[in-house]
Symmetry: C2
Subunit: 207 residues, 2 copies
């Protein structure tokens, strides 16, 4: 029954541990592909083109947009970010479940365009733990922490738009839960229209 | 995070193998409880009160209804069938996921009353396999088979109302998929209102 892969959007608070979760998920199971975003922002120290992002000029980005080559795109702090369509389509076609890591506005845009997208929201077990993780990075001062906590508060308003929450308390358990959610999602009726239509046709030819 | 259990309704074509699936699921995992229905129909050969059904008189049944002691009930072939509330509530409270095996009309009634109910629909891989299984029982003549196939055709119209389809081709795999679906369902935002409200409150106290 499993043919085409499904599209998964992972969102969540900054500091909730999305990166670590994604890495572990991809290491543990072989049915996933992680989409790499395209951006016009400059690469940071240690970032490689094609790994963290595809780094392009504003012109290249806008050309991609005009060709409908991005599934979604957004502007953030005067830079553009977007999801290249070709890679996603190719991986879905090959039966891979493709993960996009984007924030809520982008997530909802993708869901509107592709109603069968699965939306996952990664959360810490509580706010204190979120703060601890943000401070643990060691690079953020109080003002940045305050901003991120405030941003988390805003994002938390959208949780009900997501299909499942992923509570990141224990990495292994969490990855296994995410995998369960995605495996289950393959069996939603909306993702099995062909199969359901086929069996309906068969049953009809019986009566 | 996992406190209260969730309510699960399993429906599906007669002959799809629901009984075998339920039995295996309950043998394999310890977080499930199977609800036993109450009925006014006479026990069949080999049926035990409290196991297949609670067998009661029409008077006892109607008294139960008047006391709001049934989660749902329906009349079928001049007999009443219903789901006793007390057992279900007690098991959910104890953290068990409670499974009701009822047909589509009852399933939708339960979902309306308890919106967090998870609806699963068990299907054979194809119609020919359904026929094979119905014939395999050895007790049904052609006319009964035709009726059941026709009934399946009617029931198939409601599949989109269900959260997930369970395609019963391989017992072990199927039971493990059902378990994934139910585990995942625990993390739907609607089933975690308290947790989400709590973290929102914590985040608010931060800004």
């Amino acid at each position: 029954m499993k043919h085409r892969g499904i599209l998964i959007v992972v969102s969540g608070f900054s500091g909730a541990g999305k990166g670590t979760l994604m890495k572990k998920l991809l290491e543990t199971y072989d049915n996933y592909a992680l989409s790499v975003s395209m951006t016009t922002r400059a690469p940071r120290q240690g970032e490689t083109d094609g790994k963290e992002y595809f780094f392009v000029t504003k012109e290249e980005f806008l050309k991609k947009v005009s060709q409908d080559g991005l599934i979604e795109h957004a502007e953030y702090c005067e830079n553009y970010y977007g999801t290249p369509r070709e890679y996603v389509e190719k991986q879905l076609e090959a039966g891979k479940d493709v993960i996009l890591e984007i924030e809520i506005q982008g997530a909802l845009k993708v869901k509107e365009k592709f109603p069968n997208t699965l939306l996952l929201f990664v959360m810490p077990p509580n706010a204190a733990e979120l703060e601890r993780r943000l401070r643990g990075r060691g690079t953020e001062d109080d003002e940045v922490i305050r901003k991120r906590m405030h941003r988390a508060q805003e994002e938390a308003e959208g949780i009900e738009k997501y299909d499942f929450i992923v509570v990141n308390d224990d990495l292994e358990r969490c990855v296994s839960q995410m995998h369960s959610m995605i495996s289950a999602a393959h069996y939603a009726p909306g993702r099995n229209k062909e199969f359901i239509d086929e069996i309906r046709k068969e049953l009809k030819s019986w009566s």
